[in-house]
């Protein structure tokens, strides 16, 4: 049977998928009818039908475990299954957040050590593990910026500067935090336009948020100069550290002059990214911000670990301690790779991206032709001139059984194709991707129609995203 059915479609009165044991307690009267909810219209199916239904759906999944997934800015690397086992150990998975501290010392030790490792990796002084997503970590970082300036009695700094290549969460977090935003332009090399920054960096600016490496997959060599300028004028420098996979163990945000950075543990540190979570976005700070960190932090001395709240903490930003299971996987990742292993992972991530850059450069326009970091951004403008758009290329890749790269981001690249292979892919896989991309570039010349109507081999053909956006149908209703 195809996957084009839902359980209610095969429901028939009287079919049943489970057998209940005989009643072994005295039957109780039901409350009065008016207090009871209406009967739920649950589908009636047999056990094997249920199993087939979900098995069929599961075969439609595409993930890192099924194939290459070069979704730029998302770091879709393979995460060893063993790290899941660690997170599921009973001492981690079966504890309650309100248990007395003495009874969860192992879990607290893990959090304490992870705080320290992340501070070491980023070159910062302190870490709060609480934020539960990348964007949430950005938000927490900006709350710290606000607390810092308010504490100094400075109330005119109401602006956050961002670059025009920023990830959409950067402006969103700043606005959510009550700041106004101003956008600094990138120059023709993809770096911060220093003249522009110079003219915008005034005493209304609370901080500059600068992703490093940038979302163009480039390292901005002016970073020390940028940091000096921002600090001279009384601002703070914050990093969106979601791209840390590019330089683990090689470059430290603290040494670049950053005051804080948020990390995406669910990208760089062994938790699958996507599917809506759970995520973890710890924020690591220099000493000037550490008193404001979101609580709780874990302290440790003489082998005893305790939860504490920093002196001027901005308070709680999530329930309890954040997403603990993600912390377990990050811990397992760091401990199993070790300092050298982390470096090697990043080196391979950068090597793989540069390999794809060189291989694909003859076929796709490369707007910033320089050594890239963990990802490379192409532009589909050569193909656009032939009437084929990046979206068509992305859809056509599905026919080759490959997940497409990120498209139309960053916004400053026309028809952007953002490719992040990650360190976990072999040369063989990369070569297969290159072949598919070459083939598609040839199709653009010889048979553009096949791209316009792609995908052809997928369970569903091209979806009407325009209609979906204009008339969203958000609620499924039972057909009667």
């Amino acid at each position: 049977m195809s996957h084009h059915y839902l359980l209610p479609d095969i429901s028939q009165p009287g079919k049943i998928g489970c057998s209940l044991p005989a009643l072994d307690v005295p039957p109780a009267e039901l409350p009065p009818r008016e207090l009871l909810r209406q009967e739920l219209e649950l589908p009636e199916v047999s056990e094997v039908e249920l199993v087939r239904y979900f098995t069929a759906l599961s075969k439609l999944n595409y993930g890192v475990d099924t194939g290459f997934y070069p979704l730029g800015s998302c770091t879709m690397k393979y995460n060893p299954k063993w790290h899941e086992d660690i997170a599921r150990l009973a001492g981690f998975a079966s504890i309650h957040p309100l248990q007395p501290e003495e009874s969860v010392q192992g879990a607290l030790q893990l959090m304490f050590e992870l705080q320290e490792y992340l501070a070491e990796i980023t070159g910062m002084d302190a870490t709060s593990l609480v934020p539960i997503a990348g964007a949430h970590g950005e938000f927490a970082g900006l709350l710290l910026v606000r607390a810092y300036h308010q504490h100094r009695g400075d109330r005119v700094r109401k602006k956050i500067l961002l670059t025009d290549s920023s990830h959409g969460t950067n402006p969103a977090s700043a606005v959510m935090c009550g700041f106004e935003i101003d956008v600094v332009a990138s120059d023709s090399e993809g770096n911060v336009d220093m003249k522009n920054l110079e003219s915008m960096m005034n005493d209304e600016v609370a901080a500059l948020t600068l992703t490093m490496p940038t979302t163009l997959g480039l390292f901005d060599p002016q970073i020390l100069e940028i940091s000096r300028l921002v600090h001279e004028r009384g601002g703070l420098l914050g990093a969106d550290g979601a791209n840390l996979n590019a330089f683990l163990g090689r470059v430290k945000f603290g040494e670049l002059g950053y005051d804080y950075v948020q990390l995406n543990l669910h990208k760089s540190f062994s938790t699958p990214h996507g599917g809506g979570g759970p995520g973890s976005g710890p924020v690591c700070v220099k000493e000037n911000l550490s008193d404001f960190l979101p609580s709780p932090l874990v302290t440790g001395s003489n082998g005893t670990y305790k939860l504490m709240s920093p002196a001027k903490s901005i308070g709680r930003v999530a329930s309890f301690y954040g997403n603990f299971s993600v912390m377990c996987k990050a811990y397992a990742y760091i401990r199993s790779l070790g300092a050298e292993g982390l470096k090697e992972a990043s080196e391979n991530a950068v090597l793989n991206a540069n390999y794809l850059k060189e291989k694909l450069k003859p076929y796709y326009h490369l707007p910033y032709d320089r050594t890239c970091m963990h990802e490379v951004v192409f532009s589909g403008r050569w193909q656009k001139a032939k009437g084929v758009h990046t979206v068509d290329i992305a859809k056509r890749l599905l026919d080759y059984g490959l997940h497409p790269p990120t498209v139309y981001f960053p916004l400053i690249v026309d028809e952007a194709l953002m490719i992040e292979p990650t360190e976990t892919e072999s040369k063989q896989t990369l070569d297969a991707f290159v072949e598919a991309m070459k083939e598609i570039a040839r199709e653009v010349e010889e048979n553009p129609e096949i791209l316009h109507t792609a995908p052809h081999n997928t369970p569903v053909r091209r979806l009407d995203d325009v209609r979906a956006a204009r008339n969203p149908d958000l609620r499924w209703q039972m057909r009667s």
Partner: protein, 133 residues
């Protein structure tokens, strides 16, 4: 309405004056082509004061959200509710039914700094050439 008589900004807004101090504003064809299918418009409420070159609204396409800038300063008299309900009109008829707002101009002299259609066409040709380099 004849787009040849409109005035244009470098951000691809147009303004078509109806009298010395009133005019309709919309997005140029080039803008709608670059944006792709438009799915949502956020326009300033009638009565809002807008300022020349400053953001006055947002346009969302399936690809991205972009700002709409006020071509001149003034007060919003009216918004085109039809285009809000059916944003695809901007794609279909950017210079006619796809207009966005009507403004009362507070500084009509600002019009002189905008491009006329001949100048704007050249500007767009130049942009397209840069793009296909």
């Amino acid at each position: 309405m004849n787009p040849k008589e409109y005035k244009y900004t470098q951000e691809h807004e147009w303004i078509c004056t109806e009298s010395r101090n009133k005019g309709k504003v919309g997005l140029a064809d080039y803008a709608q082509l670059q944006l792709g299918d438009i799915v949502f418009l956020d326009l300033p409420a009638p009565g809002t004061q807008v300022e020349h070159g400053k953001k006055m609204g947002e346009v969302e396409s399936v690809k991205a959200v972009s700002d709409i800038f006020a071509p001149v300063s003034g007060r919003v008299l009216e918004i085109n509710q039809t285009v809000v309900d059916e944003p695809g009109l901007v794609n279909k008829d950017p210079y006619g039914a796809g207009w966005l707002v009507r403004l009362e101009l507070s500084k009509p002299a600002e019009l002189d700094a905008l491009m006329d259609s001949e100048k704007y066409d050249k500007f767009v040709v130049q942009l397209s050439e840069e793009e296909s380099e």
